[in-house]
Amino acid sequence: MQSSVGAGKHYAFRTQEAESGSLKVGISGILSVETAKAFTADVDGLLDRTSAPALIFDLNGIEYLDSTGALALILSRDKAARKSIHVRMTGMSAETGRMIGIVDPEADCCCETPKRTAPNAWMRAQDVAARLSDRMDLICLFVGDLAASLAASLVRPRSVRWEAVLFYMKRAGMEGLPIVGLISILLGMIMAFMASLQLRMFGANLYVASLVSIALVKELGPIMTAILFAGRSGSAFSAEIGTMRVNEEIDALSTMGFEPVNFLVVPKVIASILVVPILTLYADLLGILGGLFVGIAGMDLTVQSYLQQTKESLEVFDVVSSLFKSMCFAALIAGISCHHGFQAKGGAEAVGSATTSAVVSSIFLIIITDSAFAIMLHYIR
């Protein structure tokens, strides 16, 4: 019996009868990570077939043995022992002996191994509950911290890093104009088009203007802008802070005497509160513009009549309340995104999951807050 694997990584396995019924196995060539599989298969085959009470591994012909090969030798020795076949190794060179020596698990002392017990369902439930309450604690702490810092910056506006505020206003606001604009125009056009299909049947084409403007200013403008802001900037905030946390930059800031919330979060929150209402207003205007295009091109409305109708259907209160609402969205998105960034622990993956949860919780909070506003505004009026 002989097997060889490829040219350049030759390995051979020969068996012959030896004295007193034992079988002599000549192993030669290269026994390494490349040939270990073939060797294991050969030994398994031999152990299945043989009836010999003892095997002698002759390692004289081994040219190269690496630790994987040595492990394969030892494992086949143990496997044979389980079938009560005794294995003896002969013809070891000094190098082979050394290699087997450092690989053999029985050769070194068994240092104590930390054992992990698998948690049962009750323990796991407790664990989840504890983690949940921890998370609530952290959120409360963060909200308190942030509120205190914001209040402090109202009292002492000089303590705010205004250049950072401007930087984030540019990042989150100005650079977001194209995408927010594009989506709002398209949204306005789609709404006007879909509405016109229905309203045309009643000859109420003019009311397309009212529908588009009310829907956009009261609901869709703020919500669309907020969701885009969460995806564009909330994720960036949380990834930035998360990476700083992982790289111990936040610890460095604290030891240098900076309050991390003050230093990192306050500028972002202020910039967001300033910039999101402007973005919302811009989205409203472009949405109405989109509706206007469709109105003129598809429904024979004049620019003047469309704008007149828009003006009549909106009130100042609607615009102001929607801008206030978008301010709340901005504070929530920036705050929760930064909060998730601070929770990142570990490595690259933690930053990724912090960013994901930042965007998910932002969108969730947007919807919740929007429903709250819908009810409140209904009763206020």
Partner: protein, 255 residues
Amino acid sequence: MRGSGQPVIDIQGISAYYRDHRVLEDVSLRVFRGEIFVVVGESGCGKSTLLKCMTGLYRPDQGRVLIQDTDLISADDEALLQVKRRFGVLFQSGALIGSMTLAENIALPLTEHTDLDPGFIDEIVRMKLRLVNLAGYEDAFPSELSGGMKKRAGIARALALDPQILFLDELSAGLDPVTSAGLDQLVKDINAGMGTTMVIVSHELNSIMTIADRIIMLDKRARGIIAEGDPRKISENASDPRVHRFFNRIPPKGF
């Protein structure tokens, strides 16, 4: 067998530039089978660049890098992959993949590059962890380990495919003397037991004196090698002031 035979790494006249800043100029060196070869020098002298040239992460602008007779610069992708399987690299920070347990980290190259059975791979993983004295930490995540343990786990991963050459970047940087001495011992044991050729970048004088068979010293201004040989001899009879300063920890004038 130490320091004899044909070289496993043969670098012939390489030069490396970053933009218009020359880091290495016409550097040649040889590393022989089974030796522990240490690259020393002050920060910014091109140690890491040299290591990157040897591991194929950076292509030098001139010269040849031969690893066991394969030229890293002219080799095609297939040949490059073959060479890369023959060496292991320990990165400065360990560079373990944070989302995987230690066992998964070490098994990664094995499952990717070999067709061994999963059961046998588990045995190999346990054996490698035992080699670096981390038995029992199979299910631990890298973030749960101390600095020294991360280094040792990194060595275990570098050893996964039984490389003939091991590159170790900043082996003992940022570790306490005891841990660092333990790592030195580990490197010596692996070298003695498995005959692995070691190329180490290091700053730690104590560690260099204990483990190195041969060192080269690079210099920023010379952009190349200013000393080569047995570290004990070099430190005793250093005539070059730069070498003398390094081994006696004397800052340069005007520092």
